[in-house]
């Protein structure tokens, strides 16, 4: 009950964020976005025809009216069909979002798990060669551009000049085997690039917790290392970890990995959104923007509830 009430309050408090996201996207993508008047006109249009089309597109309305209409369409989930392909927006998203999630999830999960693992090794052996090696390697990893990593992995694993083990590009998935063969190289590149950042982040969090007073107390009472790690270090590190992981989820769902999708020619939601921006495909944009804002409000709610679950000092008020 407490949680339900809290959620309702929190969702209401999320309205300014939704308005902000929709407003900025409206401003950039619609108001200053591509002008579609001439696309819809035949050759040598008369001024009357231009006028007519602009009225249809709503370009003659005042700014606030147009924004209100935009918000109304998002709020009523009235998206219609894509202007470029004619496909229903709902089916477009239903087709592309799962692809993005399937594409990103393995790298996201592995990148975080391995990051925690390496961070633990480094933090537990602070100052040793293992720490220096891990932190040195993550500094190198952080200095390599994602694009460079993708190309290098493609050359090494997919091209004829390397091992040639995996398809060079595309997403032709009909079975789990197909999935593995298409997802491996993008996953390797994602993990490679994320690992440096994640290791550094998690090491800082873990070291911070390791030097807390209550860890010293636990040691002074002869707590075995496994329990010390779980109860004193991990449980107390959960807030920054939850924050990092949960707030990545909207990006995974919405932008997928635009770069990977563009580079490997994978039909995910990131690529679709990017194309919608470049072509001014408003129905798609509206849907994605609405979804983004909603996901962020939900992520905020989720993190608060999870904070409460891991830390009794947090109260849901």
């Amino acid at each position: 009950m407490e949680i339900l009430q809290y959620s309702v309050r929190k969702l209401i408090a999320g309205i300014p964020l939704v308005l902000g996201v929709t407003f900025i996207s409206f401003l950039l993508m619609v108001y200053f976005g591509p002008d579609k008047t001439y696309e819809l006109l035949g050759k040598n249009p008369t001024p009357e025809q231009i006028e007519e089309v602009r009225r249809e597109l709503g370009y003659d309305q005042p700014f606030l009216t147009r924004y209100a209409l935009y918000v109304q369409e998002i709020a009523t989930l009235n998206f219609g069909s894509s202007e470029s392909s004619g496909e229903l927006v709902s089916s477009l998203l239903a087709r592309t979002i799962p692809v993005s999630i399937a594409l990103i999830t393995p790298g996201f999960v592995l990148g975080n798990l391995l990051g925690v693992l390496f961070a633990l090794i480094a933090a537990y052996h602070r100052g040793s060669w293992a720490d220096k090696f891990i932190m040195g390697a993550s500094a190198v990893g952080m200095s390599i551009s994602f694009l460079i990593a993708i190309i290098a992995f493609q050359i090494i694993f997919s091209s004829n000049f390397g091992l040639g083990l995996f398809p060079v590009r595309g997403w032709n998935v009909h079975s789990f085997g197909d999935y593995l063969s298409y997802v491996t190289v993008p996953t390797l590149a994602t993990v490679f690039v994320a690992l440096g950042y994640n290791t550094r982040f998690y090491r800082a969090v873990i070291v911070e917790e390791m030097t807390r007073d209550h860890v010293r107390t636990a040691k002074a009472f002869g707590t075995p290392p496994a329990r010390l790690f779980y109860k004193n270090i991990l449980k107390n590190s959960m807030i920054p970890i939850i924050t990092r992981v949960v707030f990545s989820i909207p990006f995974v769902v919405i932008s997928g990995s635009l770069l990977i999708e563009s580079y490997f020619g994978i039909p995910g939601v990131g690529k679709v959104t990017f194309d919608a921006i470049t072509s001014g495909d408003q129905p798609v944009l509206k849907a994605v923007v609405g979804l983004t804002a909603a996901l962020f409000v939900l992520a905020q709610l989720l993190t608060d509830i999870l904070y409460r679950a891991v830390d009794p000092r947090v109260s849901l008020t």
């Binding site: 900025i24 976005g33 200095s143 551009s145 994602f146 460079i148 919405i254």
Partner: protein, 302 residues
């Protein structure tokens, strides 16, 4: 530790009179000088900066756009790193791109840091008021729009403006700095010297910009280096997506060019841009870390 708090107070009041004469900066300087990795990285960054300066003043890198050889010419005395698909000299292009990287990095780092400092200081000083609320709201909103999509939207709404990429980066990169500055200013504003200035009726903006903001310089400096790196790294990806550097050449454009060259087995373009870029980013990252270490009053070795 408890020491840190005492130090902070002392720095606060001393810094108020002179920013650079203070022991924090003096100590940081000495500490940085002793940091071997930091000094090496500074040397490397300086070397890159000199290359960029040479391009900027027209000493070298002038013929990056000339078609001076055959398609995909191999490495030779004439073309140190070979040529690209239309016969342009890769070495010249890679050198010229160094200037592009510095240009993007500096413009974005300086402007984003200034913006972050100003908005962060305002939010922190007026924390709890509507000014703070609005700035926090703005940060939250910009944070919730996926970066590349925001950049794409800005780039397209500015219709091919060559600075669309810069503007896009600045409009998101200020947020991190702003959050840090806001937190620091909230701490600083309760310190004695600020209370004293307030009690004597000094104008609020004067307090913010003359008395408080100079005390966040150490944060700003580190943030500027972090932003610089983020800008160069983003440039590569944006240029690949076609919304990055519009005229001239950059490592990102070279890598974009090379994406199908590598599948044909020609790696010079890719390697030249990647290695040069890696060197600069790595050195800058190390420089940034060393700077952060040197300026952090709390760090203990080990």
């Amino acid at each position: 530790m408890s020491n840190g708090v005492a130090d902070l107070t002392a720095n606060g009041s001393e810094l108020d009179s002179s920013v650079f004469g203070d022991s924090l900066w003096g100590k940081a300087f000495l500490k940085f000088r002793r940091d071997r990795a930091g000094m090496w990285s500074l040397a490397v960054v300086t070397a890159y900066a000199l290359i960029a300066l040479g391009v900027w003043t027209g000493v070298w890198g002038t013929s990056w756009a000339d078609v001076s050889g055959a398609k995909w010419a191999p490495i030779s005395a004439e073309h140190w790193l070979g040529t690209n698909i239309i016969g342009q000299d890769i070495f010249e292009r890679a050198v010229f791109s160094t200037k592009t990287a510095f240009e993007v990095g500096l413009v974005v780092a300086v402007l984003a840091t200034v913006l972050g400092a100003v908005l962060g200081a305002m939010a922190g000083f007026f924390s709890g008021s509507w000014i703070d609320e609005i700035i926090i709201w703005l940060m939250g909103v910009l944070d919730s729009i996926p970066f590349y999509l925001l950049v794409a939207a800005i780039a397209f709404s500015l219709e091919g403006n060559p600075y669309a990429m810069h503007i896009a980066m600045i409009s998101t990169f200020w947020i991190g700095t702003s959050r840090l500055v806001r937190g620091e200013v909230i701490k600083l504003k309760s310190l004695d010297f600020v209370e004293a200035a307030r009690a004597t009726g000094v104008n609020q903006l004067t307090i913010i910009f003359r008395h408080i903001l100079p005390n966040t310089f150490h944060i700003l400096l580190v943030q500027a280096t972090i932003t610089f790196v983020a800008a160069i790294k983003s440039e590569v990806i944006l240029s690949f997506l076609g919304i990055g550097v519009q005229d001239g050449i950059s490592w990102g454009l070279m890598i974009a060019e090379s994406t199908f060259e590598v599948l044909a087995g020609f790696f010079n373009n890719f390697l030249a841009a990647s290695v040069l870029m890696f060197g600069l980013v790595m050195a800058f990252n190390m420089f940034s870390d060393a700077l952060q270490d040197a300026l952090d009053p709390r760090t203990v070795s080990g």
